[in-house]
């Protein structure tokens, strides 16, 4: 049994409920105990770092102070939360002129969930416990921006062409296709304020994924998943086509391959129904 601190972030209590459920199910199965950080707060997200850098660092930093007090390394499923916590950690640990007034000791580590679940020991465990290989499923991996960039903040080893999700999905038996848009931007919170921008960026992703022969796109960030899933019908209509590309969280595919009970509990919350695809390859 591994134990690790867990910072879920606000969206996992709402629109990314499917992500949260699949994470909990997969971690239960892998005997990873997620200990939710007590009284965690919002990382500040794009709003805080756009309007006030100091507030942004202090909001995210409060969570790091709590984690240090609890003596917990933390794993973060949301790419943006992960990025904000890493930036805050670097700023607070190098705060020589006490700009932020929030001392940190540097005793804990912050992990992106994908990075954590694709470490060699867990990948070995995943291979050992595989009950339902994802044979016949052709997928492209979509990492997005925030878990990798900028590498000075995220400590990502390969930021232009990350491969950890590709390798993890290959372990699960999926046919992972290479494509050039692994880390391209989906437009993030512009979905609310300037959907036209998001539609433009996301349409390119669909077109390229389809051109590569992918059945689906796999994400590790709930903003990416939302932007690719929620508006797919609308974007298809505007482009005069119908994409029907299910957008999975990588944890959902882990759950299916590891034999989690009733994966439909997460999958039925998607807008683009993944069940027809899964049935066609004998996985549902």
């Amino acid at each position: 049994m591994h134990e690790i601190g867990y910072y879920p972030g606000c969206t996992l209590q709402g629109t990314a409920r499917d992500y949260r459920q699949s994470i909990h199910d997969v971690c239960d199965l892998l005997e990873i105990k997620l200990r939710e950080l007590p009284d965690w707060n919002c990382c500040g997200a794009t709003a805080a770092h756009s309007l006030d850098e100091r507030i942004a660092v202090r909001l995210a930093g409060r969570n790091l102070v709590i984690a240090e007090r609890e003596g917990l390394d933390i794993v973060v499923p949301c790419a943006l939360c992960f990025n904000r916590l890493k930036v805050a950690q670097k700023r607070l640990l190098n705060d020589t002129d006490r700009r932020y007034g929030m001392p940190l000791e540097g005793t804990i580590q912050v992990f992106d969930l994908l990075d954590y679940l694709s470490r060699p020991n867990i990948r070995q465990e995943v291979r050992d416990r595989l009950v339902r290989p994802l044979q016949g499923l052709r997928a492209v991996c979509y990492y997005g921006c925030m878990v990798n960039r900028p590498p000075k903040m995220t400590d990502a080893p390969t930021w232009e062409n990350p491969t950890n999700m590709d390798e993890l999905l290959a372990d699960l038996g999926a046919e992972v296709l290479d494509w050039p848009f692994k880390t391209d931007c989906c437009g993030a919170s512009h979905a609310v304020t300037h959907p036209d921008l998001v539609f433009e960026l996301v349409r390119k992703l669909y077109d390229r994924a389809v051109a590569q022969g992918a059945h689906c796109i796999v994400a590790s960030c709930q903003m990416c998943q939302a932007n690719l899933d929620l508006y797919q019908e609308r974007i298809g209509r505007l482009a005069g086509t119908s994409y029907e590309l299910p957008i999975f969280y990588f944890t959902e595919l882990m759950g299916i391959a590891l034999g989690c009970r009733r994966p439909d509990r997460w999958l039925r919350r998607h807008m683009v129904d993944p069940l027809p695809l899964l049935r066609s390859v004998g996985l549902a």
Partner: protein, 204 residues
């Protein structure tokens, strides 16, 4: 018009210094390779390209950059910052310029949906320490005035349908979650003098 063509460009190098003092970012290191602009996914919606923003900062053209659409179009994807060969944090410059436009009251929520959304989002954090997505979206529509635009263009119905679809999939929570120590959150946010200007824009 002929006058502008003949007028010598007025340059204020102090601005680059000011930006460096405030952010630690050195715009004078830019040699205009345009790698930032070439990698930027959103140039199609910008009035100035990222390399032009850096150049304008270097020349001291503060008015242009603070009023540019570009700073609000930037999605903070960090591609420019990651690839700059001279270590200029260009996405960090965009943040700095957004903060300055906010602090000086140059930008208003009505007419700038992105700014309106950021403000509503920060207010939500100040209120309970966590963001409540269902309430946030409603307040954003009101504060930005976007509900009117959406009603006129007919896109409001699409949004409502999407909202219903999410709600029926139990992805829009009915009740907010908050932190226990709300006072602490408030102190994190309100201590900063720049944040004092969050009131008063309803009147405009």
């Amino acid at each position: 018009m002929e006058q502008t063509a003949a007028a010598p460009l007025e340059v204020y190098f102090d601005l680059a210094e000011k930006v460096r003092d405030a952010t630690g970012i050195t715009v004078t290191a830019c040699y205009q390779c345009r790698k930032c602009t070439n990698g930027c996914p959103l140039t199609f919606a910008m009035d100035y390209y990222p390399d032009q923003i850096v150049r304008l900062l270097l020349l001291g053209r503060e008015e242009e950059v603070l009023h540019s659409a570009t700073i609000w179009v930037c999605s903070s994807c960090e591609t420019c910052t990651t690839r700059c060969p001279n270590d200029i944090d260009i996405a960090g410059l965009m943040d700095h310029l957004k903060s300055e436009a906010h602090r000086r009251g140059i930008v208003r929520p009505k007419g700038n949906p992105t700014y309106a959304f950021h403000k509503v989002f920060l207010d939500d954090i100040a209120r309970r320490g966590r963001v409540f997505e269902s309430g946030l979206l409603n307040r954003y529509l009101l504060k930005s005035g976007e509900w009117k635009a959406k009603l006129e263009t007919g896109t409001l119905w699409g949004d409502l349908r999407l909202g219903w679809a999410l709600f029926s999939r139990r992805r829009l929570p009915l009740f907010p979650h908050g932190v226990m120590n709300k006072q602490e959150i408030r102190s994190l946010i309100e201590e900063e003098p720049g944040a004092a200007e969050t009131e008063g824009d309803e009147n405009t």
